[in-house]
Amino acid sequence: MSIGPNITPPLADAPAADPQQLETSRGFWAETWLRFRRRKLAMVALAYVLFMACVALFSPAIAGTKPIICKYKGHIYFPALGYFHRSWENPIFVTDHFRNVYPAKLKESDPESWALWPLVYQDPQRRVRADEWPDHPANPTRDKGHPNSLNLFGTTRAGVDVFAEMVHGTRTAMLVGFVSMGIAGAIGITLGAFAGYLGGWADMLLSRLIEFVMCIPPLVLILALIAVLPHPTIWHLMAVLGLTSWTGIARLMRGEFIRLREADFVTAARAVGVGWFGIMFRHIFRNGLAPVLVPITFGIASAILIESALSFLGFGAPPPNPSWGALLEAGRDNLQMWWLIAFPGLAIFFTVLAYNLIGEGLQEATDPRLRQPGN
């Protein structure tokens, strides 16, 4: 230590202090991530979510009736992409009267052809019928589609494979949750923060806005939007969900800001000359995270259920669109077919669990008081 008579003036002419053993320090969020990584359960949950994201991304390769890749009449095609968008499936298969049944037709129309098939020969949008695939009887319909070796999770009333539907439904489930809660979180946190921190007239106005949005029944709004939007899509649905569900987050955030804006460290930050933005989002926000994390984590999960309810109102993806919620809804009408509820229900449960574990982990990771190695 260089405590001595020759006190080095700290500023102006301060020499670059010995930079040798100073590690570059991480930011708050980087450190949060570091602490998050130590929480086993949270990491397992995160892995689960990532796994689901992979399932969503590679769903056509997991379950489908269209080859992932095939060589047909001298060209290479990727018909499975048709599950993402119809136009990505080459029209040649329509022109050649494939009628969406590839295995036999491929051989029949071009004996030279070969194809790489998805893991499970099942379609999320239609029933697989007899003789499409060797030794593959038609999918059972009505209430006969108990889970079996060909239909792992059973089939729906119309004979659509539940496993395939769930695999492909992961896409919607993930997307809806993240996008809608992303929007809601962003709006809610920002407006709540402004209202709470600025107080006074800004609060009065923003709070009225919050109340205003709160009072609009979403059902009415959605139906009214149907009048305006000629073809509502899943993206509209996510936007609407996001734009209507931020009010709670905003109120909670506002409450935290009201509480924390009087805290001494905020006064200290003001004294240092930190601007309002810095105070709000560098100083207060990270200290008021706890109450909003909960609605956001639960919101991500419940968006999955809301999505199905809304697509049932004709808002969002049209019917053959595979979705967990739609399966549950179908199960509701026919409780005998327990598999329609059990599997999506489990998937939703795991998702709720995973998001919550992540939320818990995140909350604990943002608390430096819990900083301790190996925990």
Binding site: G27, G273, G275, H283, P373
Partner: protein, 615 residues
């Protein structure tokens, strides 16, 4: 007599990302009923951790690695939490070092005291309330009937500290651990508190562990003294022994560098002038050192003499310039210089609210029509009874509280009229070190972030690395090591946090700083180091300070001009030396007289008194 508390081989370590911190390493002491153990030591040497280990209130990353803490024969380390809980408060109670964060913000202080009373004594609510009021009166809180219903944030630092004391005393414990209980108290109140403690000790046989930096206080109250340095015990002996015949170089250094009202130094000596530590494996070795003459000369002559107000103004405030009366190197500010800060008729009133509709029934005149000037390069000392409005004045100057009335002119511009961005720019130049360092640090920001933030705002330092290096050197300046940069506020000791706050205030390169009790939790050596630093900066760059403190010796050392506040008003204002030499107000005189003395005579007298009592 069997000891009430016996600590043997205590080792408390923190396990952190940065590795193991040996906060307490192999500590042994015993405490007998009716006796006081004073613990002194370097800031951050593990005093608080020791007391928290005894209370078993350590944070979750701390662990008592080895050792035994025997309370009446029971080993507290191994006691089930249930039993421990019944010991806390009733048998052992504690006054925490930082009263600001240790009080629950949503309960009135009265309720918090009453809870302790009801918990340990069979009394009704009304009785408890009465007792709480009595206790508050006893610890010197004015108007306790009104104050019981105050919330912590409505009280001054010293008042909160007294609430903590009242709370700890209310339980009538067998052992009282007082962790720097008087840092925020002015000397008169401090004397009063010490008196209470003494009485309790003598009448009830309460054993006290008294942690403090103020050797004067140690001299007044302790029977034995434990000196700690870097988590280890370096000396443990009866008080007279320590003062009359210190063995360890650290103790010697400590005794040598305590500031005295009558000291002549321009710079203060630190323990480093008396010893040197050498790393040795995981530990360290201390080598004694003698202060050389050159150093002593430097200490006595470095820097400028006192800088007083312009003569006309001195005359106006009743301290006309008299040649020869002042120190030979004292100067006055040139006539006609514009004051850096002019406070005119400043008033801050807090409403007192009652009832469901929270109607304002009265006002607390925290700052009541005060005016003064501070000239560039000057240090204004602000002293006064706890709760007299010092902090409020400081905050009002920076417009952190909107004043009820009056004006604050900074370089002639009215601070109240500044817009948001102008104000922010101005705040780069004006800084404040808060009285409550813990509360004023963002719990979720590393101190690196805390210190570099003002630099970013004021555009100091070109990039991240440069700023970090600057922060590191600032930390060194205030006596902390740069590898603390990545710690969070809660991972520091009280004194360390205080220094972090000073470093933060210095970071942006201000020209005017308000230091609100900024060195109260520092041991004398570190305190000296920090004070030296402040003076050095003043010399180099002409900084201006308002220095708020209870320690008159510190104020006298630092201040050119001095203001004495009482009840929100300035009762005396003038050159600090004149005021010390010749206090005009009875209140000022009382303050000066109550400063604890630590000369050997006095200690001997006290020891003799004690011996008589314990017989």
């Amino acid at each position: 007599m069997p000891p009430v508390l016996e600590v043997t081989d205590l080792r408390t370590y923190f396990h952190t990302d940065e590795g193991v911190i040996r906060a307490v390493d192999d500590l042994t002491f015993r405490l007998e009923p009716g006796r006081t153990l004073g613990i002194v030591g370097e800031s951050g040497s593990g005093k608080s951790v020791t007391s928290l280990s005894i209370m078993r209130l350590l944070s979750s990353n701390a662990k008592v690695e080895t050792g035994r803490i025997a309370f009446l024969g029971k080993d507290l380390v191994k006691l089930p939490e249930r039993e421990m809980q019944s010991i806390r408060g009733r048998d052992i109670s504690m006054i925490f070092q930082e009263p600001m964060t240790s009080l629950n913000p949503v309960f009135t202080v009265g309720a918090q005291i009453m809870e302790a009373i009801i918990l340990h004594q069979k009394v009704s609510k009304a009785e408890a309330r009465q007792k709480a009021i009595d206790l508050m009166r006893e610890v010197g809180i004015p108007k306790p009937e009104q104050r019981v219903d105050s919330y912590p944030h409505q009280m001054s630092g010293g008042q909160k500290q007294r609430v903590m004391i009242a709370m700890a005393l209310s339980c009538n414990p067998q052992v009282l651990i007082a962790d720097e209980p008087t840092t925020a108290l002015d000397v008169t109140i401090q004397a009063q508190i010490l008196e209470i403690l003494r009485k309790l000790r003598d009448n009830r046989g309460m054993a006290i562990i008294f942690i403090t930096h103020d050797l004067g206080v140690i001299a007044e109250i302790a029977d034995d003294v434990l000196v700690m340095y870097r988590g280890e015990e370096v000396e443990y002996a009866p008080v007279l022994e320590i003062f009359s015949n210190p063995k360890h170089p650290y103790t010697k250094g400590l005794l040598a560098c305590r500031p005295r009202l009558e000291s002549k130094y321009r710079r203060l000596p630190t323990v480093d002038d008396f010893m040197q530590t050498v790393k040795e494996g995981t530990g360290f070795r201390v080598i004694e050192k003698k202060m050389d003459a050159a150093r002593l000369h430097h200490l006595e002559t470095a820097g400028r003499g006192r800088l007083l107000h312009p003569k006309t103004e001195l005359a106006a405030i009743g301290h006309p310039w008299e040649e020869g009366y002042h120190a030979p190197d004292a100067k006055t500010v040139a006539e006609g210089t514009q004051p850096l800060l002019a406070v005119k008729n400043l008033e801050v009133h807090f409403p007192v609210r009652r009832g469901i509709l929270a109607r304002t029934v009265d006002h607390i005149r925290a700052v009541d029509n005060i005016s003064f000037n501070v000239y560039p390069g000057q240090t204004l000392g602000l002293v006064g009874e706890s709760g007299c409005g010092k902090t409020t004045t400081g905050r009002a100057i920076l417009r952190l509280i909107e004043p009820t009335g009056g004006q604050v002119l900074y370089r002639g511009t009215n601070v109240a009229a500044l817009s948001g961005s102008e104000l922010r720019a101005m705040r780069g130049k004006m800084q404040i070190v808060f009285q409550d360092p813990y509360g004023s640090l963002n719990p979720r920001m590393t101190i690196e972030a805390a210190i570099t933030e003002p630099m970013v705002i004021q555009g100091v330092g070109a990039n991240k690395n440069e700023r970090r290096d600057r922060a590191a050197s600032l930390l060194k300046e205030v006596g902390l090591t740069p590898n603390y940069l990545r710690r969070y506020p809660h991972e520091f000791s009280g004194g360390q946090r205080q220094r972090v706050c000073i470093a933060r205030a210095l970071a942006a390169g201000p020209e005017f700083i308000i230091c609100d009790e900024s060195v109260s939790s520092l041991d004398v050596s570190v305190q000296a180091q920090v004070l030296n630093l402040l003076k050095e900066l003043q010399d180099k760059r002409g900084l201006t300070y308002i220095f708020i403190s209870h320690a008159l010796s510190v104020v006298k050392f630092m201040a050119d001009m001095m203001a004495v506040m009482n009840n929100g008003k300035i009762v005396e204002f003038g050159p600090s030396e004149s005021i010390y030499k010749n206090p005009q107000e009875a209140y000022t005189r009382k303050l000066i007289n109550a400063t604890p003395k630590d000369d050997l005579e006095l200690i001997r007298k006290r020891v003799a008194e004690r011996a008589a009592v314990t017989k």
